[in-house]
């Protein structure tokens, strides 16, 4: 089985992210692998370890992505593709999905595993759109993947009614939830070996396409302004004898906030 995993480089959401004049302040920010894609990488590597599968990752970006890709190699991914083209500097989910479509068509993959959303946009659209473009089935918010045979896989999805067990016919797209696994730390030995491993870097023409094929590069939607969310202010804190303060608060809830 051949598995394609998508990996995105995103800002480290542990940091304070400031906005100045409607734009993000880049100074002091550091970038890391998207946490959900890390789950996707781990899921792919586990599939490889438990079945006979070949894993490839694809990332869209530039030289800065190399570190992240090498770490994925150290986790167990065998091949890596980097799509590096200045025309993609501004892109949206649809354009990314179309690029990924081209990558898919250039190889012959059975399964695409992506994180369910990216930590920078939190949109969760690219994977599903990709499935739509490819005309293959897609299940999102997946918490387990099991290979039935080389044509089918069985996945569990966290849906609105509970956990859905779905049987998918390959090729298919699966987007994973962080509940699916605990990503391993890159192996020490793997990190050493990865230093020498190559990354197949392609621009759009090497991929056999051009920006004209991708909506001419037109964005279906774009961010015109970034804003800082309003911090919620703290209210009143009560300390003392449990009976007294609890009675006080209930009183306030009824008469001040008028919510009881």
């Amino acid at each position: 089985m051949k598995i394609l995993t998508t990996v995105k480089r995103v800002v480290d959401v542990e940091l304070n992210i400031r906005v100045n004049d409607g734009a993000i302040v880049e100074d002091g920010l550091q970038y890391v692998i998207n946490a959900w894609d890390e789950n996707a990488v781990e899921a792919s590597v586990q599939l490889k370890e438990n079945n006979s599968a070949e894993t490839t990752l694809v990332s869209i970006g530039g030289d800065d992505n190399a570190d992240m890709i090498k770490k994925c190699y150290a986790m167990g991914i065998e091949n890596g593709i980097l799509i590096d083209d200045p025309a993609l500097a501004k892109a949206d989910s649809a354009i990314y999905a179309k690029v990924l479509q081209k990558v898919y068509e250039k190889g012959d993959y059975d399964l695409i595993v992506t994180g369910k959303q990216a930590q920078d946009t939190d949109s969760g659209q690219t994977g599903v759109m990709l499935a739509e473009y490819l005309g293959v089935p897609c299940v999102s918010n997946v918490v387990s993947i099991e290979v039935v045979d080389d044509q089918k896989i069985k996945v569990s999805r966290l849906g609105d009614m509970g956990t859905e067990i779905v049987e998918l016919t390959l090729p298919a797209v699966v987007t994973v939830s962080d509940s699916i696994n605990e990503p391993r730390l890159p192996a020490m030995r793997g990190i050493m070996m990865a230093k020498k491993k190559k990354i197949e870097t392609m621009d759009l023409s090497a991929l056999g396409t051009s920006i004209d094929d991708l909506n001419g590069g037109a964005l279906q939607s774009e961010v015109v302004e970034y804003m800082q969310p309003e911090a919620r202010q703290s209210g009143q804190k009560f300390e003392g004898a449990a009976a007294d303060i609890t009675a006080q608060v209930v009183n306030l809830l009824a008469n001040e906030a008028k919510v009881l």
């Binding site: 969760g124 659209q125 690219t126 609890t246």
Partner: protein, 319 residues
């Protein structure tokens, strides 16, 4: 006039609150409203769908649509969107919405936005506002395509009292089942509880409850208040509470009128799930717990002591 199609959120044959919330907003924007409902045995919901605030109801009712399947659901929505000539297609915040909306957008070849909190329409210009980057940023987005498909954040829009609509049912043709993605089984989780997304009051329990005995104690409070019963991630990871009870960044986002955080420290991931609540009440032993930074009313104390007193006082004040 703008035409807005709202995808009805139906669970176990009941129309959820988000439908009328979205329709209310649509009306407030002065749009022509339509609703699309997909499922099995939902014909009877026709009047509810109208009363929620829609002028046309597109219904796809078939046994094959009883269980969720993204492909056929998307087809129905696209069908309704085309028939209604909708400019905006809105989904309520649910796993269904998140799974189907991008498909619909891709099929219609239009923009898609998830978790929007506001919409402004100025002639042909449509802008939406949404949170991003783990709720640390807010994006104002300009839509460049002639239509927009969006998933609306839980509690972002308010339902208008006394909203009305017109009953005007259009039957949709039933799409073929997706043979490539077949649901084999659904393991439902505690279906009898009050849905967190709809509840007016939510009581959530955290690590401070320690074990099943503590959780049961807090659940009594939820029962008293007829509130939704939620949990922080800690108890879910420890196996005490099911996944679907998780309130937080990677779980459910709720915005009830009152949110009780009992024995919850207030980690950022949890706050992301309930920050939008009107009033937050926190009970925690640790006076330095971060939850007190966002609580409107904070009680520093042992929940095992406080919760019984809370129940008492609430009973008293309600009688």
């Amino acid at each position: 006039m703008t035409k807005i199609l709202v995808v009805a959120d139906i669970k176990q044959g009941v129309l959820k609150g988000s439908t009328s919330e979205l329709l209310s907003k649509a009306r407030a924007l002065g749009a022509e409203t339509a609703v699309v409902a997909i499922g099995s045995n939902i014909e009877s919901l026709g009047s509810d769908l109208a009363n929620a605030g829609s002028d046309t109801q597109y219904i796809a009712d078939d046994a094959s649509l009883e269980l969720f399947s993204a492909g056929p659901f998307a087809s129905c929505v696209v069908d309704a969107a085309k028939q209604s000539e909708a400019d905006l297609v809105w989904f309520g915040f649910s796993e269904t919405g998140k799974a189907v909306a991008p498909r619909v957008a891709a099929q219609l070849n239009v923009a898609c936005a998830s978790e929007i909190t506001d919409v402004t329409i100025d002639g042909d210009n449509v802008e939406v506002v949404r949170p991003a980057t783990a709720n640390k940023l807010i994006q104002r987005i300009k839509v460049n395509t002639d239509k927009l498909v969006a998933v609306v954040r839980a509690g972002a829009f308010e339902a208008t009292e006394g909203i009305t609509g017109t009953e005007n049912v259009v039957k949709l043709s039933i799409p073929e089942t997706d043979l490539k993605a077949v649901i084999k089984e659904i393991i439902s989780e505690a279906g009898d509880d009050i849905d967190l997304a709809d509840a007016n009051i939510v009581v959530s329990v955290g690590r401070g409850a320690k074990d099943q005995a503590g959780i049961d104690l807090v659940k009594e409070l939820a029962t008293d208040l007829e509130a939704g019963f939620g949990s922080s991630r800690a108890l879910i990871d420890a196996g005490f509470m099911p996944h679907n009870k998780q309130v937080g960044q990677t779980g459910k986002i709720v915005a009830p009128t009152v949110y009780f955080a009992i024995g919850i420290s207030g980690a950022i991931q949890h706050l992301a799930g309930m920050n939008g609540s009107k009033v937050i009440v926190a009970v925690n032993k640790d006076p330095e717990a971060p939850i007190f930074n966002v609580a409107d009313y904070g009680i520093v104390g042992d929940l095992f002591e406080v919760v019984p007193i809370l129940r008492e006082e609430i009973k008293k004040i309600r009688s």
